[in-house]
Amino acid sequence: MQVKLKDKITFVTLIIISSITILVLLCILGYIILKGWNNIDIMKMIPPIIATLYMIVIGLGIAAPLGIGAAIYLNEYAKQGRFVRSIRFATESLAAVPSILFGLFGMMFFLTTLKLGFSILSGALTISMMVLPTMVKTTEEALKTVPVSYREGSLALGASKFATIAKVVLPSALPGILTGVVLGTGRIVGETAAIYLTAGTMFKLPTSPMDTGRTLAVHLYLLAKEGISFAEAYGTALVLLIVILFLNLCTYYIGGKLNKSKAK
């Protein structure tokens, strides 16, 4: 009977504590939705949106091929040894570095040393470094889910290793790789510190990657810090939230497709 009482107390405590999580989520979402709903001024948000799109395309354009290539090497070609271990260590370390340090590096190296100045390009180069480990990890996981028998079947037909990878392994691993791309996009959309220090803070419509501009997240940060127009800030926050929600839905969709194809 003692146990039953103890259990009941524990149970209730657990429920109460974990409902804090849901409460917080609802609080944040609710507040932003309610206050941002009337304040979405798309016209004012176009420059940051364009800047963000530039950042995503260029950032992923660099990180995705490199990350996928590295993962292919690790999973399909490499033999266990010092080189592989150093690559994994490097990847883990890169993933552990806080974004501000990337901003620090980006500001000194891309901005100053390479003389790219405050620009979308500086920001994209910096953010690609941050997204690289994600791409490598998710691609590797995706490659691991491809059964060895597919590779054997292809090789036995006289295909070269590269053809096997290109025509059988990669297509099969595509959903997982796409998930990585979506995750990377989410990271880029939400990143502030590193971009703040490299792409700049001017509110203008970037017309080329060498232009400066602020992304949506940086825009929100500056609106909040300046404290002038909270209304605009709420609107921006809501837009950001919607983008993240959309990206989350994408991962579920891709995940669902993945499960369907493995169903047999």
């Binding site: 028998s149 037909l157 297509p171 047999k264």
Partner: protein, 249 residues
């Protein structure tokens, strides 16, 4: 009939383990040669050496000679070799693509792009694999959605589409139900009119049913090889007799 493959004094090691010892064996053109023997005695290992899938093993070392049309296999380009010597695996492994794409995978790799040519090859291969009638209306369907027996025949058709001379089959029916197995055995008897077939099987009755000659393996060596009827009725070696009569294995 010629010996299309000749194996002389072949020993094979992987990770310092001697998996095959002094194998001497010939494969005759357009015959069905069965490898029988208890688990782990080297049948599949030898089979995989013939199309050099053995290269994928851990630290593989080969001693001795194995020739295809009198050319040392290890001197031939792997990719070219595998185009002429196809393999069907124990567990059917069609690619997660349409049936059509599975069959046309090989020909497309060889540079055949014209749809009419590919259509012809796909139809021809599926007919030869005795599955054309069953799938001709669902060529776009994903190959992994059909039954195991059909998947296996699709894999055979996929290999046939490469126009090989030899088909290596590694226990092709062990994952199939009895009806599919019997269909497969009929298919093999048909296929041998055009292809040389080497088949590894755990099922002695199957070997007796479909093969012309049989090789009995034990612990990495070939104990006896010969005409199937002779092996099963009047084996020369005691070990062969013991295995066949079920005293072990």
């Amino acid at each position: 009939m010629n010996n299309i493959i000749s194996i002389k004094d072949l020993s094979f090691y992987y990770s310092d383990f001697e998996a095959l010892k002094n194998i001497n064996l010939d494969v005759v053109e357009k015959e069905v040669l069965a490898f029988i023997g208890p688990s782990g005695c080297g049948k599949s290992t030898l089979l995989r050496i013939v199309n050099r899938m053995s290269d994928l093993a851990e630290n593989p070392k080969v001693k001795g000679s194995i020739t295809f049309h009198d050319q040392e296999i290890f001197d031939i380009d792997t990719i070219e070799l595998r185009k002429k010597i196809g393999m069907v695996f124990q567990k059917p492994n069609p690619f997660p693509m349409s049936i059509y794409d599975n069959i046309s995978y090989g020909p497309r790799m060889q540079g055949i792009k014209k749809k009419s040519e590919l259509d012809e090859i796909v139809e021809d291969s599926l007919k030869k694999a005795a599955i054309w009638d069953e799938v001709k209306d669902k060529l776009r369907k994903n190959a992994i959605s059909v039954s195991g027996g059909q998947q296996q025949r699709i894999c055979i058709a996929r290999s046939i589409a490469m126009r090989p001379e030899v088909l290596l089959m590694d226990e092709p029916t062990s994952a199939l139900d009895p009806i599919s197995t019997s269909k497969m055995e009929d298919l093999i008897s048909e296929l041998k009119k055009q292809y040389t077939i080497v088949i590894v099987t755990h099922n002695m009755q199957q070997a007796a049913r479909i093969s012309d000659r049989t090789a009995f393996f034990l612990l990495g060596e070939v104990i006896e090889v010969g005409d199937t009827r002779t092996i099963f009725n009047l084996p020369k070696e005691k070990k062969t007799e013991d295995y066949i009569t079920g005293r072990f294995g």
